[in-house]
């Protein structure tokens, strides 16, 4: 049910639209504009230059190749994990479900620190155990490993939702008609999950292509767009070339996002009728179950290895040379990092409630109200999801370095960036939960004389509280772990922990980088725990924390 909007709603819609125009659309428009006006007048010169130089042209195809590889492998791993944990009877399901979600709450390049510690020039596995010094983890291989491990949970989450929605009754029906388990999987379960896999693939692709921090450290000679755009923009101070590269980065991610949103997600099969009933059948043979368990154990071991390595990295004196225990990294991290830690918590903490509230209001407008330009509002509010941080970061610098919006160097610009970048998390959470609430509950409130503002705050908001808090905690995590846009916006006055970790990693102070990463994870977990307690036994949290 959608209702007409009253005066209050209209004002709200106008304010929200203005905010989105200024803080989402305008910065992107600035990037486009700057890329098209290298000398102050309109020309395609910058793009012509990029495509004429093979090393610049190559960055585009490198990004795409990386995205395709990671998306494919991550989707396969995500599917196997989701299938094992939601369609098969296994021991320790709860444990495995938490382990596979672990990479989602870590800073984006923590796995990179790990892999350098494990397989870098002074790596534990390469140098210490195998005695190899010629091997280089820097480049495509290392990136694929790290991104796959960090991003398969995205695919896992999508596919979990899809597999859980496939009614067991369908599989029962197929079994009942005489199909054996393998056949039922091939003809029913798997085909039904295909649209979900396409979704998962596209989302991982977007994330991989947009990733900045991992390639920044680990790419070696394998140049990708996000890194090159950053280097051109901040290193060379070539604003138009940086912008043009950013637009080339925007193109594939936006395309993938639009395909996902407006095509793939419409292809998904909804359960035809009736309520799903019946206990789940175990849909695999004993042999397959053993294979799946081995797979999960292997995955767990690898994830754990990466995390344990970072913990070890925080305590060992000089990795690769001197493996004696020390606390000196902690002392150092405290010295250089305390300010950044405070800044980061303030920045993420301040932006979170705004993100949550804004997300909920937009969700409410989109689901429950009818107004002109609704689709446009919905699209542009989700836009910042699809737009790589690099593009947004560059856009914010270009848009807010002059009056009337002189904000560069301030905390405000970082907070605003976090709010509008993470807003889609809140919107998605809100939309999902609003659709569960019978509109007649709200209609009853209005019918009894309440205004729409009153209804929203006293009826709707309390009902969507779990989604609200889960949206809050995710936007806090994203605020704590954001890097690709933030890197353009940090300053001497306001630094972000991720920018500091990145800097420490680049100068190979891996011990300090490990310590700072651990601190970041601990802060995130504490906040998760507190917000989880506030909502009670919400499933979202149960999946992440116990």
């Amino acid at each position: 049910m959608e209702t007409k909007s009253d005066g209050f709603t209209k004002v709200t819609i106008i304010i929200i639209s203005l905010l989105i125009a200024i803080f989402v659309i305008y910065p992107i428009a600035r990037v486009v504009l700057v890329s098209l006006t290298p000398d102050g007048s309109f020309s395609l010169e910058e793009y012509r230059y990029i495509f004429s130089k093979s090393w610049l042209r190559g960055t585009f195809f490198n990004s795409i190749r990386l995205g395709v590889l990671v998306a494919t492998i991550a989707t396969i791993i995500g599917f196997i994990a989701a299938f094992s944990l939601y369609k098969v009877r296994l021991p320790l399901r709860g444990f495995f479900r938490q382990i596979v979600m672990l990479p989602i709450i870590s800073p984006p390049f923590m796995l990179t620190i790990s892999i350098i510690l494990l397989m870098g020039r002074n790596g534990l596995i390469t140098k210490k155990l195998l005695g190899i010094t010629t091997f280089s983890i820097y480049g495509l291989d290392g990136l694929v490993i790290v991104q796959t491990l960090g991003m398969f949970p995205i695919a896992y989450r999508v596919l979990t939702g899809v597999l859980a929605r496939i009614s067991p009754e369908l599989e029962n029906a197929a079994l009942n008609l005489g199909g054996d388990k393998g056949y039922v999987f091939r003809t029913v379960t798997f085909p039904l999950a295909i649209p979900g896999m396409a979704s998962a693939w596209l989302l991982v692709f977007v994330t991989s292509v947009a990733d900045f921090a991992n390639p920044m450290v680990l790419a070696g000679n394998y140049d990708v767009l996000s890194v090159q755009a950053y280097l051109q923009f901040t290193g060379m101070y070539n604003l138009s070339r940086g912008s043009a590269l950013a637009i080339m980065l925007l193109f594939p991610t936006l395309l993938a996002f639009i395909i996902e949103k407006y095509w793939v997600s419409k292809k998904s099969y909804v359960t035809v009728t009736g309520k799903p009933t019946g206990a789940k059948q175990d849909m695999v043979s004993p042999m397959t179950r053993k294979l799946l368990i081995s797979f999960l154990v292997l995955l767990t071991v690898i994830i754990m290895l990466f995390y344990v390595t970072v913990i070890m990295g925080a305590f060992f004196k000089l990795w690769g040379v001197d493996y004696s225990l020390t606390l000196k990294h902690f002392v150092y991290a405290w010295d250089v990092g305390l300010e950044s830690i405070k800044d980061t918590v303030i920045l993420a903490g301040t932006s979170t409630p705004f993100t949550g509230l804004l997300g909920m209001i937009i969700a409410y407008l989109v689901v429950r109200k009818k107004f002109i330009g609704k689709n446009l509002l919905q699209f542009s509010s989700l836009l910042s999801f699809a737009v790589p941080g690099t593009v947004i970061g560059i856009g914010y610098v270009l848009a807010f370095n002059q009056r009337p919006f002189l904000l560069t160097g301030t905390a405000t610009i970082i907070i605003l960036n976090l709010i509008f970048r993470n807003m889609p998390v809140g919107i998605e959470a809100g939309v999902a939960s609003l659709k569960q609430i019978d509109p007649s509950i709200e209609e009853a409130s209005t019918d009894l004389g309440a205004s729409s503002a009153y209804t929203f705050s006293k009826i709707t908001l309390p009902l969507i509280k779990p989604a609200f808090f889960s949206g809050l905690s995710y936007s806090f995590v994203r605020g704590m772990t954001a890097v690709s846009a933030i890197i353009f916006l940090v300053s001497a006055r306001w630094n972000h922990l991720t920018a500091l970790i990145l800097a420490e990693t680049e100068i190979m102070r891996l011990g300090a980088a490990s310590v700072l990463s651990l601190i970041l994870i601990i802060i995130v977990m504490v906040v998760f725990y507190i917000l989880g307690k506030l909502v009670g036994d919400d499933e979202e949290f149960a999946g992440m924390m116990n």
């Binding site: 009614s167 009754e169 369908l170 029962n172 029906a173 197929a174 079994l175 009942n176 008609l177 005489g178 199909g179 054996d180 388990k181 039922v184 003809t187 029913v188 085909p191 039904l192 099969y269 909804v270 359960t271 035809v272 009728t273 009736g274 309520k275 799903p276 009933t277 019946g278 206990a279 059948q281």
Partner: protein, 363 residues
């Protein structure tokens, strides 16, 4: 085929262990029945009575905790669902949304080692039988609820299973359609003579479709019988109350003459009541009297005196609620009310009934 196609459930018990509270729930308790070839037996009972669990055990989705399931004399208790020659029509239909109607219906035939031509032929035949000709290339999502139901039915019928299972197949349809489908299912089942087990909580559905009804409560069988037996001669209060509207009037045996008894209710003695199953019971008993078996008469003309305390007009009949002298409240249905004397709330009336409409059960 010379299979006998009987289904026997022998001492079937199903215990669910609840993980959280370490308690055990007995869903089905010592269930016994023999179903004859071509017979349609309905499991009827309130939700949670174990009827669906019993059906799922016949299909093989659940394994009995103890007891045996025999198909044509062969123990199938350990046979997995895909190796059992059963086909189930699910409450939610369980249609494969990514396959066409034809592919859905042909799914089970793929395991019968038939060639493509034969599968097409069989599918066409059954689609015509259930009235789906011309819908073969659609997806289930493009069909109405009733049509989806037909696809589900066709998909089960086409493999000519030894046993056909129905899990509340009509509960997602609206009232009118439900009646049509009910009659159609019964017609097809009789024509193809497939041994069937049908689960429902709707007593009208059960009575109209079944050869025999098994009334279940709390995992146990309360009574097995043909619809008339169940309706006219319920073996206890639960069955009587579950099937249709009923009046219970406490009574007492005041005389026994072989198979018939003299009963006293409300201070009046009624002679020569056939005792049916009740010849050797205690003196205190309950008289079961259906609302439509009672006639309301002007004061002084019938057997027992009563006051009208409520009256509801329901179209084809008027429902009166009366209070008898001993404060027993009974319901009376007066059919075709247009041509009968109507009474008003507050009227003093008499009620009348035939001896043979009284059914005796124990307290």
């Amino acid at each position: 085929m010379s299979k006998t196609n009987t289904v026997v459930l022998k001492d079937i018990t199903k215990i669910f262990a609840s993980q959280r509270e370490a308690t055990k729930v007995v869903a089905v308790d010592e269930f016994n029945i023999e179903i004859k070839e071509g017979e349609l037996v309905t499991l009827l009972g309130p939700s949670g009575c174990g009827k669906t669990t019993t059906l799922r055990m016949i299909a093989g989705f659940e394994t009995p905790s103890s007891g045996q399931i025999l198909f044509s004399g062969k123990d199938v208790s350990k046979v997995p669902p895909n190796k059992r020659d059963t086909a189930m029509v699910f409450q939610s239909y369980g249609l494969f949304p990514h396959m066409t109607v034809r592919a859905n219906i042909g799914y089970g035939l793929r395991f019968k080692k038939l060639d493509k031509e034969k599968i097409k032929e069989e599918t066409d035949k059954i689609m015509e039988l259930v009235g789906l000709s011309g819908y073969g290339d659609r997806n289930p999502g493009e069909l109405s609820g009733g049509q989806q139901q037909r696809v589900a039915l066709a998909r089960s019928l086409v493999i000519e299973p030894e046993v056909l299972l129905f899990d509340e197949p009509l509960s997602n349809l609206d009232a009118k359609l439900r009646e049509n489908m009910r009659d159609e299912i019964r017609k097809l089942q009789k024509r193809l003579s497939i041994t069937s087990v049908y689960v429902t909580h709707d007593q009208i559905e059960a009575m109209s479709i079944s050869d025999r009804i098994v009334v279940m409560n709390k995992g146990k069988i309360e009574q097995v019988g043909c619809p008339e037996e169940i309706y006219y001669h319920p073996s206890n209060k639960f069955v009587a109350d579950f099937i249709g509207k009923v009046n219970f009037i406490p009574g007492k045996v005041v005389g026994r003459k072989g198979e018939s008894l003299d009963i006293e209710i409300e201070g009046s003695v009624i002679n020569d009541v056939a005792s049916t199953q009740y010849s050797k019971g205690k003196d205190e008993l309950v008289v079961v009297l259906r609302p439509e078996a009672i006639e309301i008469k002007p004061k002084g003309e019938g057997r027992l005196a009563a006051d009208v305390i409520r009256k509801t007009y329901l179209g084809s009949y008027i429902e009166y609620v009366l209070e008898l002298k001993d404060k027993n409240v009974i319901t009376v249905h007066q059919f075709n009310p247009l041509h009968k004397v109507s009474f008003s709330v507050g009227d003093e009336v008499n009620i009348d009934f035939a001896e043979k409409d009284l059914h005796l059960i124990s307290e």
